[in-house]
Symmetry: C2
Subunit: 487 residues, 2 copies
């Protein structure tokens, strides 16, 4: 029932890998269920059945183990991410011990925590020991504080020192994600000498597309690309083939800025230096790609007040609790809006049509405001919004709001006349809509900008602030005008 | 007033580049304004003033031209993106002709169109001619159909053929974005022979971290990494140092799948083959990074029915029109919700408190539904949602909705009692909220999945469908229950 592993190991097209993964996920979930059933039957199963089913299970597992062994760690991680807790533990038990470290590196933080949750610190230490110190630091930083400490304490001294130094960099900084393995040479060396040096190393660190050129006190002088090394005349000195015009990073640069630089200058790897301009590490494009992916995936969640920590299979209560803050805020804002309406209950009593029409004013305001906000948030992300551009944009958004507000307002006014044969009411809803759209675009532009200025996440806060305003003000404009002119 | 260009050219930290860019943007916008003023003054300025100001302007421009010349094309593109039309044209006129092609490559489609809008096809052809054919194809595909045709017609025949073949690949496919420059060798060649071959080439294509190994009919056999080439013994044959286990792509693979593969397997470049397994091109990580960035930037916009085509400085009317479809849809859905309320006007007349409370039920429903949708959309993006996981998730979301609905409902109920001293009304709002949250989580899970199944963009459609439902149903549950039990 499982095609032999080697067929998928031999030059697989990733699509086949996807199928293979799906198949394994399917099998594992099924087995986890079967196993559970077995346990449920417990004693009332006759010895024979038990033995048979255990045999079958063991065969399945051997096959699965072989299959998993043929997977790239990232694919194993994908399988683990896609499984429910029981099946996930079963799968984890089938991963060869010597690959567990590599697999852990590829999992999301929450699944990682779940996997190591019932491992002893020394076991974790044993699993991660083979990894590079920067990868160990990466793993440790995602574990609960005390567990992390215990794990580090069990590493050998050299690793301990490096890991501790990596952990000392603030989260989201280049230093925290940089690679500590890099190759550096002097500019007076000949290309041939460099080649000899490299040959002695047997292998190069992954993504080594350039070698760093430093002076005797390890200060960055330039880069020698592997291609120049290959193409250049062996006799020529490094200085003749190296580039001095280098994009480099400080350990305390923000990773998000580094991502922009990698994208803008099409980098594959870049040197990381300390404040004395000395090379201390290397940032590689794979870290950048992971960072981009993480940010992209979390954006949708942050908009609705959720963090990327969500485990698809976390227990219900835990997940429910994760949504309280957001629901709480919305409960408050919705309640405020409701109180605005409450203040006008007498008018509604007289003219009940207001009750039916008011939500339209509020909701269209919210929607058009969200469009402005989305444009601003994108502008901020691309940091295209200098103060000058900002004013221009605000002005433009207000014009658009006025224009579209008038348009929607007229359509709405006509509908009102058709429904309620009330010209004054139609006029009121038109004016109210224009006012609310103007408010919406004002808040839609300012909310993200202010959140950004104060170092908060515009993606997360903007829509709450916006809808809170457009709802309350929408009701206020519409009912207020009605109170003035209709009753 | 401008620091000499070379200081920023010499090993710049990208932060300094950002400042330099900001400075240039500032200067250009200011000049564009000044120039406009000059033109406004027109004849009534005395000859002298005119001459002076022109002299000053020319000096400024010389300085700016020098400064721009020291920028990376991507930085020049950034400057252009950040400027308003007048200043943008001024800046474009200061970009050296031989760099314009490289700059165009880095701009967004809409700015690119604006820049070439008043260029003759032959001028465009002259500007892009120096670029690689795949880059030319990339540029041409973003131009208006007929302009593109004319440009291609003016290229020399070799380029024409290649560009046409590139353009034949469907948009969003690997073929359309692949690189046509790559180096391939036979596996029986010795590493030394390969090095000799490379030396003859003088330079390697950008991001050449591996050389492709092919058989005599150009079928992909494996990869030889530059590092193996450098480290290996010159005498050994390629076959001994190459990897046969290669991640490769077909020209018609979707770019988004390729992005996943690059991320999962930490690739820098990968071979692209045709259906006969023959190498026809190369996909490099910089294209992947650009693709990721584009998708990330457009996501926020797609959620509110806008495309990434938005030019910050497009004329108001054009931008206003771009928002009509979305506003139109929201007008319709809001109107539907309003009609639901309209149906219950008699009850509201009797119990006006309903009017004040009903928006709470609707809006909290929408918010909690959006949380479910965000989780599902992320799951789809990571393709973690097999049918099994999907059912599990739906079940879980419903539980959460029931739990949180009851919680919010009770809080809301208490508030109602406090405000209106009406137990029955409190009970009604509690039940209505639970029902609406259950509906919200059902739609929140199903809407994105169905949109995804039918090949639509879940990011774009989900929130409309969701809020349309939660508003109408929220009002219906609440007012309907009220009609049954309160009056």
């Amino acid at each position: 029932m499982i095609e032999p592993a080697d067929t998928s190991a031999q030059r697989p097209h990733y699509r086949h890998l996807e199928q293979a993964r799906a198949q394994v996920i399917e099998l594992l979930s099924r087995q986890a269920v079967e196993r559970e059933l077995l346990q449920r039957q417990g004693t009332d199963t006759t010895r024979r059945q038990d033995v048979v089913s255990q045999l079958v299970e063991r065969q399945h597992q051997a096959a699965l183990e072989a299959r998993l062994a043929s997977f790239h760690p990232a694919d194993i991680a994908f399988v683990l991410e896609s499984l429910e807790p029981d099946a996930r533990d079963l799968a984890w038990s089938l991963v060869r011990a010597d690959r567990r470290g590599a697999v852990l590196l590829e999992t999301s933080d929450n699944v990682r925590r779940a996997l190591v949750a019932n491992m002893a610190p020394e076991d974790i230490a044993a699993v991660v020991a083979p990894l590079d110190s920067d990868d160990i630091a990466d793993l440790v930083s995602s574990l609960p504080e005390e567990v992390g400490q215990q794990v580090v304490a069990r590493l050998d001294n050299a690793d301990q020192a490096e890991v501790r130094s990596m952990l000392s960099f603030p989260e989201g900084s280049v230093g925290a994600l940089m690679d500590m393995e890099f190759i550096s040479v002097r500019e007076d060396a000949s290309l041939e000498a460099v080649q000899r040096l490299l040959r002695r190393l047997k292998t190069l660190p992954p993504h080594t597309s350039e070698i760093f050129v430093v002076d005797r006190s390890n200060r960055l002088q330039g880069l020698l690309s592997l291609s120049r090394l290959v193409l250049g005349d062996p006799e020529t000195p490094v200085s003749a083939e190296m580039t001095r015009d280098v994009v480099f990073f400080f350990t305390d640069d923000r990773m998000r800025d580094a991502v922009d630089a990698f994208e803008r200058y099409d980098l594959v790897s870049a040197p990381v230096v300390n404040l004395h301009d000395q090379v201390v590490g290397r940032l590689t494009v794979d870290d950048v790609v992971d960072e981009m992916r993480e940010r992209a995936n979390s954006e949708g969640l942050r908009q609705v007040g959720l963090s990327d920590e969500q485990d698809l299979f976390a227990p219900v209560l835990k997940s429910a609790r994760a949504r309280w803050p957001w629901l709480g805020i919305n409960l408050v804002t919705a309640f405020m809006a409701s109180r605005v309406i409450g203040a006008f209950e007498p008018i509604i009593e007289v003219l009940v049509a207001l009750a039916a029409l008011m939500p339209i004013v509020a909701s269209i305001g919210g929607n058009s405001g969200n469009q402005s906000a989305a444009l601003v948030i994108r502008g901020l992300a691309l940091n295209q919004l200098g103060s000058h551009q900002l004013w221009r944009m605000l002005e433009k958004e207000l014009r658009i709001a006025a224009f579209n507000g008038l348009l929607c307002g007229l359509i709405l006014g006509i509908a009102t006349i058709v429904l309620y044969h009330d010209l004054a009411l139609a006029a009121v809803i038109t004016v109210a809509l224009v006012l609310n759209l103007l408010t919406a675009s004002l808040i839609g532009v300012c909310a993200p900008v202010l959140l950004h200025r104060f170092g908060r996440d515009p993606v997360m806060g903007s829509s709450i602030i916006l809808t809170a305003t457009t709802d309350s003000m929408g009701f206020f404009y519409f009912l207020g005008l009605a109170a003035l002119f209709l009753v």
